[in-house]
């Protein structure tokens, strides 16, 4: 069977709460990163507070959120995270992704991590669709999501306020059938699940 945690550029891991909270405390200082990631102003949480939050999240069994960290294959460096929040009743999940290490932006690492998250969502969690929200001022992310197979599903007009301007909140989604078709095409004649 395919190693579902391993892509072509990155792999999915779970780090220790110590390593992860230290990384987040650093990433959260980069306001370009936090403003691409969140629609609310970033609080300067302490490493201790972030660690407690992560530990509380990890205690939940079964997990409420399937929270992965992203490491590069080349240097084995922790560069970000991707998480899936399933709504089991309806077979839907919200996906969130962030690469805190800005040296790795625009190199395909995010797209690779998203492909792994989708593979996990459709073949391990067996969901019907995956949803995401992205801000109008983040075209790099939109392009990456399109590459991973997401389609635009509309825009909440002027839902964000940043730098005194209003920006749209865009929603994208991918259905199971679309994902299957896409992955069949990429590997002709091969079962994508194997």
């Amino acid at each position: 069977m395919k190693d579902i945690f391993r892509g072509t550029l990155v792999r999915l891991t779970t780090e220790s709460p110590e390593a992860l909270s230290a990384a987040f405390a650093r990433w959260n200082r980069d306001t370009e990163f936090t403003r691409l990631l969140n629609d609310s102003p970033q609080q300067m949480w302490s490493e201790k507070k972030i660690k407690e939050y992560i530990e509380k999240d990890m205690e939940k069994d079964p997990p409420e959120v399937y929270f992965f960290q992203v490491r590069t294959l080349a240097e084995d460096k922790l560069i970000g995270f991707v998480d899936l929040y399933p709504i089991w009743t309806h077979g839907n999940a919200w996906v969130g992704i962030g690469l805190g290490e800005r040296d790795y932006w625009g190199k395909g690492c995010g797209t690779d991590a998203m492909r792994l998250a989708l593979h996990y969502a459709f073949t391990e969690l067996n969901l019907h669709r995956v949803s995401l929200g992205v801000f109008e001022y983040n075209p790099r992310a939109i392009r990456s999501y399109e590459k991973a197979g997401f389609r635009m599903e509309g825009r909440q007009r002027q839902a964000l306020s940043r730098n005194g301007k209003r920006w749209d909140f865009l929603e994208m989604g991918i259905l199971r059938d679309e994902w299957l078709k896409l992955n069949m095409k990429q590997q002709p004649g091969r079962d994508p699940l194997i």
Partner: protein, 196 residues
Amino acid sequence: MLDFQTQLLDARDIRFGSIDHEAHPEIESGWTHDAEFMRLMELKPAYPLSAAMVKKQYETVEKKMDEDKNLFYFTIRACTDDHLIGKAMIEWIDWTNSNGWLVLGIGAAEDRRKGYGSQALDMLLRYAFAELSLFRVTAALPEYNEAALALFRKFGFIEETRRREALHREDRRWDLMCYGLLRSEWEAQVSAGGMR
């Protein structure tokens, strides 16, 4: 001159009121036993609640109103005899981005199709824009709730996003729509004398 005279909580046939912790739990418990109502109102699985459970929920609602400051919850009452007709709320208010989410429900079947929903939405919008000064409001509505979709469209809401097949009910997949209305659009309607 600011129009202080317009009462924000009173309409022709209905008014907005607070929760009655003694009288309302029994009534709302009845609504939660109406599967059709629950499936129109809620995306989570419909589940009947006892009066005691509803009472507890009311306490949570008021605690959230007090502590989180991002929820405005109104009961809808009849002007004639004050009986509980439904509920209306602006929730998940995001003050930074000036956006709020609307929820509206008329509980008893005999109170539907009497224009109460329309009067409640009219008041809810006035509250959101004239009192809370929100920039925009959003409502998440299932594809199969045609009455709600028509009501929100009547008030100028625009279908902004459509999460394809995001709902699974009766062995069928349905879309989940987000309808949005901007304050500027609402103001234009009001000054044109629409909807009031």
